[in-house]
Symmetry: C2
Subunit: 312 residues, 2 copies
C-alpha cells in the first residue's frame, strides 16, 4: 500500500471502503467472510475499511453483532489504524457502547452518524449528541469523524455545529464524511477548517474534492471497484471528460438508480462469485433477478470501455 | 377501571398512554418514577400504558434499558395485560430481543414500529420485517400491533401489507396504531379488517374513530390529561363544536406546534410538579423557558374553559 493513510496530524486520507456486511442464509453476520473481504479490499487498492456504516447496513445489527464483526476483522490481521468503524446508532447509549468498544480494541478513529429517529432536530440537539458522546467516552485518543447524511438521518450537521465542536474539543474532532453531495457544504467545511479530513461518500466527486484540499472517499463502490478508485485517487483527473472518471460516473449512476446496498450486494455476488452477498436484512430486499442482470450489464459495459479488469 | 380493555377476541380497546420516559439528571432511566407514573395514569383514567414508543423516546434507549424499564413497571404491580410495550427498533435483531423479552415477562401485546433507518423501502421489505419477526418469535401467544408512523419511519405500512400479514398469521395480527392521522388509511383498515383493533395516535380523532368502529387512542397527551381523554372516550361527542373536544383540539394544537416529546415533558414537569421530566436525551432538547411558559398558558386556558381540574 503506497500512500500513507495518515495526513497531517495523523488524520485519515485515501480510499476507505464502506464495507458491505455479509450474512449467512439465516441473516446472521458472516464474520469470516467479512474479515476475508476486508483483507482483500486492502490488497486491491483501498487504504482502509469502514465497517457498519450505511452501505454496511450498520443500524440493522445489534451492538453485540457490531462489536463481534469488528473483533473478527482485527483478529484476521487488519491493522486497527486502517479501520474506521461506524459507531452511530439510533440510541446514544448504543453509540456510546460501540465507541467505547472500538477504542478498547485499538480503533481510535470513529465514524459517527447522529441519532436518526427524531425529526425536526435543531443544531443545539445535534451539537449535544456529539459533545455528550466525546465527554462520556472521555478518552483523549478518540478521533471523531462526523457523518453527515441528511437523506437518511433527516438532519444536517451544519458547519456552525462543526465549529462549536472544534472549539470545545480541538483535535478530537478530526474529520467529516459528507454523503449529501452538496458541494457548497463540502467547500465551506474545507475552507473554514483546513485541518479537518474531509471525505465524500460520492466517488464521482473524488477528483474535485482532492483538488479542493479534501482527504478522500468513504465509498460503497469500493467493495466492487477498489482498483478503479485507486487509479482515480492516484491520477486525480481534472476534466469531466476523462474516460476513467466518465466510467465511474456511469457505474455510480447505475447503482444510485436502485436501492444502493442491494445493488452493490448484487454486484459483489456476481463479481466475487459469492452468492451469499445477496443476503440482507429486511426492510432491505435483494434486487429482482432481471434488475440484477440489467445492472451487471451496465456495469460491465462501463468497465470494458476503459479496459478495467475485473477485481479478483 | 370501568371499561374492559379487551374487545372481541381479547383485543385491546380504550385509552393507552404513550408513556414519557423519565430520566435522572445524568439521563439514565428513572425506573422508579416510570413505574409510579404508570400506576398514576391507570388510576387517573387510562386503560393501559404503552412504553418506549415515540413519545417515550423508545429508540433513544438500549435494549437493556428498555427491558429493565418494562420489568420495573411490572414489579410495581401494573398488570401485564394493561401494558403495550413498544418493541420496534432500528435493528431487527433488537426488535426480536425486545419482543421475546416482553413475552417472557408476560406481555403478549406488542406495538411494533418497522425499522426506520433505510428509506425508499417497498411493501415487500415491510412485509418481511413483520413476517420475520413473527416467525422468529415463534410464540402463538404473541399479538402484534402494527405501528404506522410515516413521518418518523419514512415508510407506510400499507393496507395490502396488513392484508398479507393477516393471511399469513391470522389472529397474531391484532391491531394497528396509526399516527399518520390519514383518515382514508384509518377507515380503509377498519372497513377491510373489522376484527382488527384500530388505534389512532391523534387524540382529536378519537370520537370519530370510535364512531367508525375503531378501538381507541395510544396517546402522548394522556401523560398530562388522562382524565380529559377518559371523558372524551366515554362521552364520544359527535360534533366538532363540543366544548370538551374543542378544548382537546386546542391543547393538541399547542403541543403539535412544538417538538412533541419536549412539549409534553414540559407540561408534565409543571402539572406533576416534578422538574426531572424536563430531562431528555439528545438530539431532543428541553423547550426554552419562555416557550414552556407560553405552552403552559395555552394549555391552562383550554383546560379552564371547560372546567377541567388539574390531574393530580
Amino acid at each position: 500500500m503506497t500512500p500513507p493513510i495518515n495526513g497531517p496530524g495523523n488524520r485519515l486520507r485515501g480510499i476507505f471502503a464502506a464495507v458491505l456486511t455479509p450474512q449467512r442464509d439465516d441473516l446472521s453476520c458472516d464474520n469470516d467472510l467479512l474479515a476475508l473481504h476486508c483483507g482483500r479490499l486492502l490488497s486491491e487498492g483501498c487504504d482502509g475499511v469502514s465497517l457498519f456504516g450505511t452501505t454496511g447496513e450498520g443500524p440493522a445489527f445489534s451492538v453485540e453483532e457490531r462489536c463481534a464483526g469488528l473483533e473478527a476483522v482485527l483478529e484476521a490481521g487488519v491493522p486497527a489504524e486502517r479501520i474506521l468503524p461506524g459507531t452511530g446508532a439510533a440510541s446514544p447509549a448504543d453509540t456510546l457502547a460501540l465507541s467505547r468498544h472500538a477504542l478498547s480494541v485499538g480503533c481510535r478513529n470513529l465514524l459517527v452518524m447522529p441519532p436518526f429517529f427524531f425529526k425536526d432536530v435543531g443544531d443545539e440537539g445535534v451539537f449535544r449528541c456529539y459533545a455528550d458522546l466525546i465527554e462520556r467516552v472521555g478518552d483523549p485518543r478518540m478521533r471523531l469523524y462526523i457523518y453527515n447524511f441528511p437523506d437518511v438521518t433527516g438532519l444536517w450537521v451544519r458547519p456552525d455545529v462543526v465549529a462549536r465542536l472544534i472549539d470545545a474539543f480541538a483535535e478530537l474532532v478530526a474529520g467529516v464524511k459528507d454523503s449529501s453531495g452538496d458541494w457548497d457544504y463540502v467547500t465551506r467545511l474545507i475552507g473554514n477548517f483546513p485541518a479537518l479530513s474531509m471525505f465524500t461518500g460520492w466517488e464521482t466527486l473524488l477528483p474535485r474534492l482532492l483538488a479542493a484540499g479534501g482527504a478522500g472517499n468513504v465509498s460503497g463502490m469500493a467493495n466492487v471497484i477498489p482498483n478503479v478508485l485507486r487509479q482515480l485517487y492516484e491520477r486525480r483527473p481534472e476534466s469531466d471528460d476523462d474516460p476513467l472518471l466518465a466510467a465511474v460516473v456511469d457505474m455510480v449512476d447505475a447503482v444510485s438508480k436502485r436501492p444502493v446496498t442491494p445493488a452493490i450486494k448484487a454486484l459483489a455476488a456476481n463479481l466475487r462469485d459469492e452468492p451469499s452477498w445477496r443476503n440482507m436484512r429486511p426492510p432491505l430486499v435483494p434486487l429482482e433477478r432481471d434488475d440484477e442482470v440489467d445492472l451487471l450489464r451496465c456495469f460491465q459495459r462501463a468497465r470494458e470501455r476503459v479496459g478495467i479488469l475485473p477485481v479478483p
